[in-house]
């Protein structure tokens, strides 16, 4: 993806998002004006309005750049598989802790994350999977008195 294309996409997303904020989300999810003070929608509307104006300016700038020169420098790739490999176990961690307990879920989580990171040596994999989980458990349960998930 080139820089110009990336900017065009991001400004368009921001423009659409801020437009929907102004038209639907802010009016739909804010309390009504109680008749005194300042409406609850004022600051969110200012912020969303500002985002919309800036995104339109950004689109204008991108179009100008596009007309002047085609293409542009390449940008950093988005690694979707990599992203899913790290975020998915994190999303599942808390429900898994409630289901099977902190230590088993934590150990499985650490093993999965290490495998996703590329760790293939069994010795460090085992130590890193068990030790931090047990230390965090001991610290949270006995030192800080935190109610565990």
């Amino acid at each position: 993806m080139t820089q110009t294309l990336r900017n065009g996409i991001s400004y368009s997303i921001v423009a659409l998002f801020s437009g929907s904020l102004l038209l639907w989300i802010i009016p739909g999810w804010s309390p009504e004006y109680p008749g005194y003070g300042v409406p609850a929608t004022l600051l969110p509307n200012i912020a969303a309005g500002f985002m919309l104006v800036l995104a339109l300016l950004g689109i204008l700038r991108t179009v100008q750049q596009r007309l002047k020169s085609k293409g542009g420098t390449e940008t950093e790739k988005i690694h979707w598989r990599h992203l899913v490999a790290f975020l998915f176990p994190c999303v599942l961690l808390m429900p898994a802790m409630s289901l099977v307990g902190f230590i088993p879920a934590g150990v499985v989580f650490m093993t999965v994350i290490q495998l996703a990171c590329g760790q293939r040596r069994w010795m460090p994999l085992t130590i890193v999977a068990i030790l931090p989980v047990v230390i965090v458990y001991a610290l949270m349960r006995f030192a800080l008195g935190v109610p565990m998930p």
Partner: protein
């Protein structure tokens, strides 16, 4: 007044406080020494732990962490030529060539002394300047506060980012996220989408951990996965002249140290510029004022001294706008606001009237942290050097687990973990699309103050559209903001 100062400093010297400051410094040096981990990231990860400390110990711990990380960043920069923090990049230009000559220990000691000198200078300026400035700031009413926040956010978005448009969009998004929760006038939920957990608003901890730490680790892992090349840590020469910095050598850098400390203090006190700007500017000035500019980049001690003293001066001087105006100058200061709020305090000029003893205790902690940094750096230099060779495959999974548990720890809520993951995803895309997530966090932190001052202005003026014209200071600030925005728009039209 004198009693307050004595009581504050006595509180700073309390054993528990000293322990946490020392812990903060050690943890900060270790965190800074590991490439990819920086001070704000370490602060974000440790804020949940500060819940369990007294306010003075908590702020002392976090400030110590930040100071330690600034010096720690130079360790990996000098030894691996991979700066642990962006502000240490200039340190590597002369530090790494020295390390290649076997003088790595000398380079590190120069960095340590320069850090301590720069930090001591900036702390002194903070102590002397903050109280009088806060007294002036007390005369500011809601219009001035509103205008000042507008200007600060515009400057941060303009100077701290590659594109002002994207910086301002990020700051606006931060403000919008800051409005989620109970609306102050009607006491009804706003933008909560019917989710009960959102009614108390979004806490800084999931945002800080998700955007600063978790997303950073995901991006770092993207870079290291597949890179099987081992990094080589350089060895030290045993000769004393290659290991230690003599008094003559230190005094030889005195002018550079002073100039760079002044530059770092000024840059740190201005919102948005940050430590990297300070260190590059100071290095540039050191080259320009040197009799042997051609020797810079080959291992000159002055190069290290300039960069390190300037970036360390930023740590203390960034607290000047925080203490006097309640506005964070950089990311670390923004996170400190979160820590202040957690402990029931709002940074700003009123702190000097309401919590003067606390302020002096923080001053004491800053001085103590600097002394600890010198001691810890001297004694543990070789141990910290070992930290740079911890394999990321061991370290990063532990940080990921710490991120998840840290965000749970803030309110014992699984919902905060979900928020942390959501914000890390947002930060990932913001980084890829070059939007400043720092602007978003600062916008989020300033949103409640901004909204309160805006409401006060509108209510007090009975919705007078010309209310700002009656406040000359606010007018000047708004005009300055307008000029900064217009300049950006003009540059857009220019193409």
């Amino acid at each position: 007044m004198f009693d307050m100062i004595c009581a504050g400093f006595a509180e700073a010297l309390h054993v528990a406080n000293l322990f946490f400051v020392l812990l903060g410094v050690i943890a900060g040096v270790i965190a800074g020494a590991i490439p990819g981990i920086n001070g704000p990231m370490a602060i974000a990860l440790c804020i949940p732990l500060s819940y369990y400390m007294s306010p003075v110990a908590a702020i002392g711990f976090l400030v110590g962490l930040n100071k330690g990380a600034f010096f720690g960043g130079s360790i990996s920069g000098i030894l691996l030529n991979t700066p642990g923090t962006p502000e240490s990049a200039a340190t590597t230009w002369d530090g790494h060539p020295l390390a290649q000559q076997g003088k790595g220990e000398k380079a590190l000691r120069t960095a340590l002394y320069a850090s301590v000198t720069g930090d001591a200078f900036a702390t002194l300026v903070l102590i002397l300047v903050a109280a009088p400035l806060a007294a002036v700031a007390l005369y500011m009413g809601p219009p001035e506060v509103f205008a000042l926040i507008c200007m600060a956010m515009t400057i941060i978005a303009g100077l701290g980012t590659k594109s002002m448009i994207r910086g301002l969009i990020a700051a606006s998004l931060g403000v919008l996220i800051g409005t989620i929760g109970i609306e102050p006038v009607s006491a009804m939920p706003r933008l909560t989408f019917g989710i009960v957990s959102l009614e108390r608003g979004i806490s800084l901890i999931p945002i800080g951990i998700g955007m600063l730490a978790f997303s950073e680790i995901i991006i770092q892992l993207e870079r290291i996965i597949g890179d099987k090349g081992k990094t080589e840590v350089l060895s030290f020469s045993p000769r004393p002249e290659d290991r230690f910095v003599s008094l003559k050598e230190y005094l030889g850098c005195a002018v550079t140290l002073l100039r760079s400390s002044i530059a770092g203090t000024i840059v740190g006190a201005l919102p948005g510029l940050g430590a990297p700007v300070a260190s590059f500017f100071a290095y540039d000035q050191a080259v320009k004022h040197s009799k042997h500019p051609e020797e810079f980049g080959t291992g000159r001690l002055e190069g290290i001294a300039a960069s390190e003293s300037a970036n360390s001066a930023v740590v203390a001087s960034s607290l000047i706008p925080l203490f006097t105006l309640g506005i964070p100058g950089n990311m670390a200061a923004a996170l400190l606001i979160g820590a202040f709020v957690l402990h029931g305090m709002t940074p700003g000029p009123l702190m000097f009237e309401q919590n003067a003893q606390f302020i002096y205790a923080i001053y004491g902690s800053l001085i103590v942290a600097n002394i600890f940094l010198l001691g810890v750096g001297q004694l543990g230099l070789k141990v910290f050097c070992k930290m740079v060779s911890i394999p990321p495959l061991v370290l990063y999974p532990i940080i990921i687990f710490t991120c998840v548990m840290g965000s749970y720890l803030s309110q014992y809520s699984s919902f905060d973990v979900t928020l942390m993951i959501a914000f890390s995803l947002l930060a990932y895309f913001m980084r890829k699309f070059e939007y400043s997530f720092i602007c978003l966090i600062i916008g989020f932190i300033l949103a409640p103050i901004w909204e309160t001052s805006l409401q006060q202005v509108i209510i007090a003026s009975e919705q007078d559209p010309f209310m700002f014209f009656k406040h000359p200071v606010a007018d000047i600030l708004m005009v300055l903001t307008f000029i900064v925005i217009c300049k950006s728009v003009f540059s857009i039209r220019k193409g």
